[in-house]
Subunit: 252 residues, 2 copies
DNA sequence: CACACTCACTGTTATAGAACTCATTGAAGA
DNA sequence: TCTTCAATGAGTTCTATAACAGTGAGTGTG
């Protein structure tokens, strides 16, 4: 048997087809896929081959397999994984801290040149500017300015961002977040952020710049966060199995 | 066929056996493993089953498979993976920068209390203190002080650390690095490091504290690195497939 | 009614055999 | 001497079949 007729392995084609059906909603999150034997028959392929396709999906965290029960579509915690500032919030909550979000500004206005470049907007295009302050342990720790591309921005501009994360709002608006790239640099607290963070100018901070992309590689959100060095740190764990990256609190 | 006689899957047992042989040096790094057909015969197992075992090893980055050529033991870039400051060097070299290491100090002396605690030494125990400055693009960028536990320290104290990385020296001394944890905080350049880094005091820096562990969870190296914010940044990429973390240069 | 058992259904692991692609090598031909 | 091409040996993908192991609902018994 030839692996295929168009230079792509059979199991990869099947994996791609199933992945498309999952992402398109043909199989809903939490729903069970048809049994392996049934799928293998419908694809005209052996159980072994089908399982190899499922293994691909499992590696991508698209499905969860449970012996004796079935194969289920994984819940869409993609956005959860991607939002480091939300995982920050989660990390801190797990440590017992009370994390709150205050909205300091929200407006649709013309995007500055740097933001326009990041979001690939035409000069003069407008976007939603969202300014938030994250507090925990009763003290402000992160000052964050996010710009959201239109037309997505129009769908989410009226959400209550003290209770709902930006990424949850995006997901509710049907925007699937696929990728994010982030750069973190050390810096000194500037006057504008100092007003919100209640800390002297020139204090050591981490400055995070993050751009988030949809499935078709369109940038949707540009984030600029100023993170107080006295309250936050970056932790990494490296082992043979892989790499983990978390934000941690440095409350005494 | 029962998966095995002792509640462990056959392919897992084979994977564990091969992994042990690789780690023990029975198969040397870079060396080719016997052909799959030969291995499957010697384990008395099908090609499919053997390949499942190899897939495990491949997932763990222990082997590299090349179609038409063979299966090779991966070079021991475990330390490479673990040493973010060495991967920094590699990242920069890939970008065409010339990275150099200068040794500013090397001595066996009594470890300060904080270091002793990190390495789990008894108060008063001595250790190797290694002070290095990393330069690239002709400018000093990182000031790094490493403490190495004895007796490992005695085996590597005479190596030429301008040419050999600390982790290479450790590997040569038979020390297998298994895990590392690192914390990165923003900070201000202190006078001691400022002398080496040729930058004004109070400049924004990243301060990295890393502890490296051997297979038996003994801490062997404690690293404290001061990284100039004007020259270095942290980049992360998040996607469905996983997370990557690299150090990048910010040379204009 | 409560408990244990059976059985059908699920994913999992294994067998054996064959055809495929890719890289290397060495001999034949120009 | 250089080029070409077929043979070889490696990993890769697939077919076909069988048995194992966890789950849970239904069934029977006390």
């Amino acid at each position: 048997m030839t692996p295929d007729a168009g230079h792509e392995a059979r199991y990869r084609a099947i994996a791609a087809d199933l992945a498309a059906k999952i992402r398109s909603g043909h199989y809903a999150p939490g729903e069970a896929l048809p049994p392996q034997r049934e799928l293998s028959a419908s694809y005209g392929v052996t159980l072994m081959t089908l399982r190899q396709a499922l293994r691909e999906l499992s590696d991508e965290r698209l499905i969860v397999q449970q012996p004796g029960r079935g194969t289920f579509v994984a819940p869409p915690h993609l956005a959860y994984q991607l939002d480091s500032l939300r995982s920050l919030v989660d990390d801190l909550r797990k440590q017992g801290h009370d994390v709150r979000t205050a909205v300091a500004g929200r407006a649709v206005r013309r995007a500055p040149a740097r933001i326009a470049a990041e979001l690939r907007l035409r000069p003069g295009d407008s976007a939603l500017r969202l300014e938030r302050v994250r507090e925990f342990a009763g003290r402000p720790a992160v000052h964050q300015v996010s710009w959201v591309r239109r037309p997505v921005a129009d769908q989410i501009r009226d959400r209550d961002f003290t209770a709902v994360s930006l990424y949850t709002a995006l997901a509710d608006a049907g925007v699937t977040v696929a990728q994010a790239s982030e750069v973190v640099r050390p810096g000194l607290l500037d006057p504008a952020a100092a007003r919100h963070l209640n800390e002297p100018q020139g204090s050591p901070v981490l400055v995070s710049t993050r751009i988030t992309y949809t499935l078709d590689a369109t940038p949707v959100v540009s984030d600029h966060a100023t993170i107080l060095g006295s309250m936050m740190e970056i932790r990494t764990e490296r082992a043979a199995t892989g790499l983990s990256l978390t934000w941690g609190a440095t409350i005494p």
